[in-house]
Symmetry: C2
Subunit: 455 residues, 2 copies
């Protein structure tokens, strides 16, 4: 994990948020390669789950919503963590974390039971002081909208993107008349006031979700659920996660939300253990019914074919952008030996690699090589996204730099390209990241050869 | 304006935020066509200003930042609007808006002068009550991060994306070693607690910016400024704004921020008047110097070639996503007569249109037409982003629906396609949105014909 974090900082993927000001825990900033990796992941998800389908409708709702959205959804009352206060320093800690660290299984434990267990086990705060009673702490960030600061002006930073989809469900039905089953999809930020953000970009205060709310006739829920279960695996394949590292956890009756009739957590083998990557939940009619009740607007659906009115049930596949990025980094990070030297490389699937091809002149101080390399660079850039030019340092160093950012192909223009060896004129060296192998390719075939390997 | 808002809601572009809960002023949600239009605008901007260049580095910083970022930038002290309170109802109003409505020129007016002018003119609140003194009201949304709510845990929703770039300037310099001049670019949300959000998506509480901080040797600022001035115009051309509707306003000495030596506002002829679309400012070394001082981290730049150390100066081109969308909608909204009937259409440039091509079978109840149309649809979908299938209602209605969402091309599969007229076998009707003209195109040429017209 330390190696990944260090590589991410050193090579411009991910930096600590507000770093020069000492940071802000639970926030991270993306540098040039990180932004592109992230864009590629989002685009691939959007293509698979929205563009390639005809039953999916994209949505982009505001982060700030009317506070009543979160009253209806139950977040104002129930989106909370159990906290306990150091009676002396007044610092607050997650009671469940302290108990887990002391070997107590906290699953399903009430607040009172946690308080009792802390006393019984004699658990102290990290500063060695006594702890108070365990209390609920709401994890939504609160702010006030408008000129006055009172109860009526409260708004929250959305804790999940789902709310934006339920609130716009009727707008989409009225403007586009989709037929059941259909889904709304959204990619966007969500915020959670985690008391103990940790594990790099795994547990964050500011995160991004890619979520779907898929509306079905209640009798068809199992078919849709199974279809999404398979599509989650297809997506983890797409982003290069080994099937052996992705696990399904069927969430047991007592551990599911009260309204959910089935939930699968998809877990991944992160460096710090097997932890949740994605979720898939059957939420029955809980959401549409709650928002119908809360808003007073009827969110039932009239089926033109069967001439019946029903409240659709919901299947919710939920993907975290940062957990995806961390899984990809974990899976891709490789150390090996090449040419007798230790090297680090990221074996990104070419499709999501931030840089697809790097173009080098063999020598920086030979104008004809540089000119030809620029020509090849411009030619590739027109056809392929993510092409980079580099003439800094010797070829070996440039290969290692590209390995570290996961560039699948490097192209070198040398004297043979210029015709020094007649039969090699207008050919270039194409170097493969994973094997280090080099092959000679005619310039005319270069872009199609690379395109075929990427997509 | 009302026509545009109504079309946007009716056809699934833009809905009022949290609409079923009575809304939240200053927030808007994007429906399926709106999301795609927005993605297309963002992608085009990113391509022009980041991907197509070698001197630009993408960044994606967190929305929540360490509060000291905004102390250094001057936002905590100075990012405010003048407010005045109704002494009876306690409602608050923008003092400058009330004065402007009364015909007073408020430019450069102090708070005391505004208070005096309100008394002198006898201006009352909209409810007819007396008004109090004019006070500054900070426009940043405030929240608390962590378990305790005190001064140290305050964080703000960033009021602009710029801060994220200055804070990461050193990270990019250290990891990627760019040579001056170079720029950081970012697309992301920003938040402003506007007291009077208005004009649809023009004045918002939650908005999205596409910003660049371009770092130059102080002696080169004019060249970079001029280059961006031209690129702003090239971009407004790209998104289809008529040059006659885009105006430059050279901001006068007294009206510029104290540190800026030159600022141009690019204004557009919106339905509600000529208002700011984009901005271009020369900010000297104000930002890097302020953040060096505030963070204690040296943000100077060492030039390897000249072996000198300097604090780069900054040129800042700033683009609002929603103002861009509103300008595009304003420019594209057209009413005309076609075939003796009034029609509404959006003449989007094909490149940014959410749907590029719609494919229809002439009749819904002829399986061979539907099957062939599905085949053509799948073929186009593989090659072109934004292809839609529609078999609902008669052809005339389908054309009108596509006109309203700005689809540049419609393809109809009819009996001639199937070989009823032998010489027309395997040809389709391609209909042009703007002229309504139809032409017969062989299926084999269809995708390349459309691709040429789009890109």
């Amino acid at each position: 994990m330390e190696d990944i974090i260090s590589l991410c900082k050193r090579r411009g993927f991910i930096f600590q948020g507000s770093e020069i000001y000492g940071g802000l825990a639970g926030t991270w900033d993306y540098g040039p390669f990180g932004v592109t990796l992230r864009n590629n992941v989002r685009s691939l998800w959007w293509k698979r789950f929205v563009e390639d389908r005809e039953d999916m409708y994209g949505i982009d709702a505001a982060i700030l919503m009317n506070q009543n959205v979160w009253k209806s959804s139950g977040h104002v009352a129930g989106f909370s963590d159990p906290l306990v206060e150091d009676t002396k320093s007044k610092k607050r800690y997650r009671a469940d974390h302290l108990l887990e660290a002391a070997g107590v299984d906290v699953k399903g434990m009430s607040l009172a039971a946690m308080s009792a267990a802390i006393k019984e086990k004699g658990i102290k705060s990290p500063d060695g002081n006594a702890l108070g009673e365990v209390r609920q702490f709401n994890m939504m960030f609160k702010t006030n909208v408008g000129a006055t600061e009172d109860e009526t002006s409260i708004s929250y930073l959305r804790p999940e993107t789902a709310g934006g989809m339920f609130v716009n469900y009727k707008n989409v039905v009225d403007s586009l008349h989709p037929k059941l089953p259909f889904g709304l999809a959204q990619v966007g930020k969500a915020f959670r006031n985690e008391i103990a953000p940790r594990d790099f970009i795994f547990r964050l205060r500011e995160l991004e979700q890619m979520e779907i709310e898929y509306f079905v006739d209640p009798k068809d829920w199992e078919k849709a659920f199974e279809s999404f279960r398979q599509q989650v695996h297809a997506f983890t394949d797409d982003i290069g996660l080994a099937p052996a590292h992705v696990h399904e956890l069927e969430v047991a009756d007592g551990d599911r939300a009260h309204y959910s009739k089935r939930t699968i957590d998809f877990e991944f083998d992160y460096p710090f253990g097997k932890k949740e990557l994605y979720g898939l939940a059957y939420r029955t009619d809980f959401d549409l019914s709650a928002h119908t009740k809360g808003s007073g607007v009827d969110l039932s659906y009239f089926d033109e074919e069967t001439k019946t009115r029903l409240t659709p049930h919901v299947i919710e596949p939920s993907f975290g952008v940062e957990r995806t990025i961390l899984a990809i980094l974990t899976e891709s990070y490789t150390e090996d030996e090449l040419g007798g030297e230790k090297r680090i490389y990221l074996k990104f699937p070419p499709r999501i690699a931030p840089v697809k091809v790097a173009v080098f002149p063999l020598l920086k101080n030979k104008p004809q090589l540089v000119e030809k390399a620029r020509e090849v660079f411009m030619m590739l850039k027109k056809k392929i996204p993510g092409v980079m030019f580099d003439d800094n340092g010797n070829i070996g160093k440039r290969y290692r730099r590209q390995d570290e950012v996961g560039t699948p192909f490097c192209v070198t223009i040398d004297f043979d390209t210029m015709g020094e060896t007649l039969e090699l004129k207008d050919t270039v060296t194409l170097r493969n990241r994973d094997t280090g192998a080099q092959q000679r390719i005619p310039l005319v075939d270069l872009s199609s050869h690379i395109m075929d390997a990427i997509f």
